[in-house]
């Protein structure tokens, strides 16, 4: 009995890991270059997407669903992080009336 009705014969694990790596790297570049605090957190969500693709591909590769169940926990953490981070962003915005991350560069000390 096949695991899924569609056969994936020519696609290898490396294909999905490549897509995951590209998404993770792009999310990291965005995290470092953008100065809008909301977009910075959006880029962390994109890094999560890269990880999630790798997890699901490994789940298929090893023929168990542990990778897929782990994605549920990743989604939970992403939702909790989005709620907390966006609350903080709104708080910071009300204090300085700007979303610029460089406005808080005095935190460097």
């Amino acid at each position: 009995m096949p695991l899924a009705p569609i056969t994936l014969a020519p696609i290898t694990l490396a294909h999905f890991l490549l897509t995951g790596a590209i998404l993770f790297a792009l999310g990291m570049v965005g995290f470092l270059t953008r100065r809008n605090m909301i977009i910075i957190f959006l880029c962390t969500e994109m890094m999560f997407q890269g990880i999630v693709i790798s997890l699901v591909a490994f789940a298929r590769f090893h023929n168990n669903v542990v990778g897929q169940t782990f994605v549920i926990f990743v989604l939970t953490i992403a939702a909790a992080e989005a709620a907390l981070a966006l609350g903080l962003v709104v708080l910071l915005f009300r204090r300085k009336r700007t979303l610029d991350a460089l406005a808080w560069s005095q935190l460097k000390g």
Partner: protein
């Protein structure tokens, strides 16, 4: 030693560096877009070349076409997320990344995860982001109402960030690609074995078919569980069993984390802050 992937990485880094917003009009982003598209196309052609024989005949060609389409949508949308100068559009491009990821999940037979991703990310998290972008909209500078603020129009340290990100990617690729021939298909015998274990644990009078049609006769006792139930194990059944048999503590902890973040978000949001008079 095969250097093609590293060349593609360097070209992609150069293309991304050219696309980065600079706050003034220049033909560089369009050139960078062309270079990026060419790099992506070359990379896909290279990957297709590295495939085993006979991929054009089997049913897997369909899956591969879908893989390349979804992957290209995801990568292009991801580039637009990090280079678009308007935050709302960046959030909408992120929805495209998420939808392409869900398509790839459908491809590997993870239906539940695909729909959970669309519902949770597209339905909950992205709506929160768009709401906050709307709430935190800054008043435009007088005379230039169309333009977004300067911190959205100019990328910060694009060179260092692109070098760091693509160094990381080259490292990951050097680990992944020494063995490109690892097929994604699991061992069929192992798949059947795990399916039989799942069928043996589910009660015969509570299968989805029996719940939908209560009049179905009971299967004969003594036969193997797979033949007795005469059905396929669905992806949702597998995830449900794994979640509630193996990860029950993690599930409870996830609930606690959600509750704590709910309380924390309320506490953070209801604080009264004094507005600083000086502008930075």
């Amino acid at each position: 030693m095969d250097y093609s992937l590293y060349i593609a990485t360097v070209l992609g880094a150069a293309a991304l560096l050219m696309i980065m917003p600079r706050g003034r009009r220049s033909p560089l982003p369009k050139l960078g877009g062309l270079l990026g598209a060419a790099t992506l196309g070359g990379l896909w052609l290279y990957l297709a070349r590295a495939l085993p024989e006979g991929w054009g005949i089997s049913g897997g060609a369909v899956a591969m076409t879908y893989y390349y389409i979804f992957s290209a949508i995801a990568v292009v949308s991801a580039v637009r997320v990090i280079t678009h100068t308007k935050p709302v559009y960046a959030a909408l491009w992120f929805v495209m990344v998420m939808l392409a990821t869900a398509g790839m999940f459908l491809l590997v037979g993870a239906e539940f995860m695909a729909f959970a991703l669309v519902i949770i990310y597209g339905g909950a998290i992205l709506v929160t982001y768009v709401f906050v972008i709307m709430l935190a909209a800054q008043a435009a500078e007088p005379g230039r109402e169309e333009q977004t603020p300067a911190y959205d129009r100019v990328a910060w340290e694009p060179m260092a960030a692109v070098v760091a990100g693509f160094l990381l990617m080259a490292m990951v690729l050097s680990v992944v690609f020494p063995a490109p021939g690892l097929a994604l298909e699991p061992n069929p015998a192992a798949a059947e074995l795990s399916d039989q274990q799942i069928l043996a644990t589910t009660l015969t009078h509570r299968t989805p078919e029996r719940l939908a049609h209560p009049g179905t006769p009971q299967p004969a006792a003594g036969s193997s569980p797979l033949a007795a139930q005469a059905r396929q194990v669905t992806n949702v059944e597998r995830i449900g069993l794994d979640l509630f048999q193996g990860n029950i503590l993690g599930l409870e902890l996830a609930g606690v984390i959600l509750l704590v973040s709910l309380v924390g978000a309320v506490v953070i949001a209801k604080q009264q802050v004094p507005e600083e008079s000086e502008k930075t």
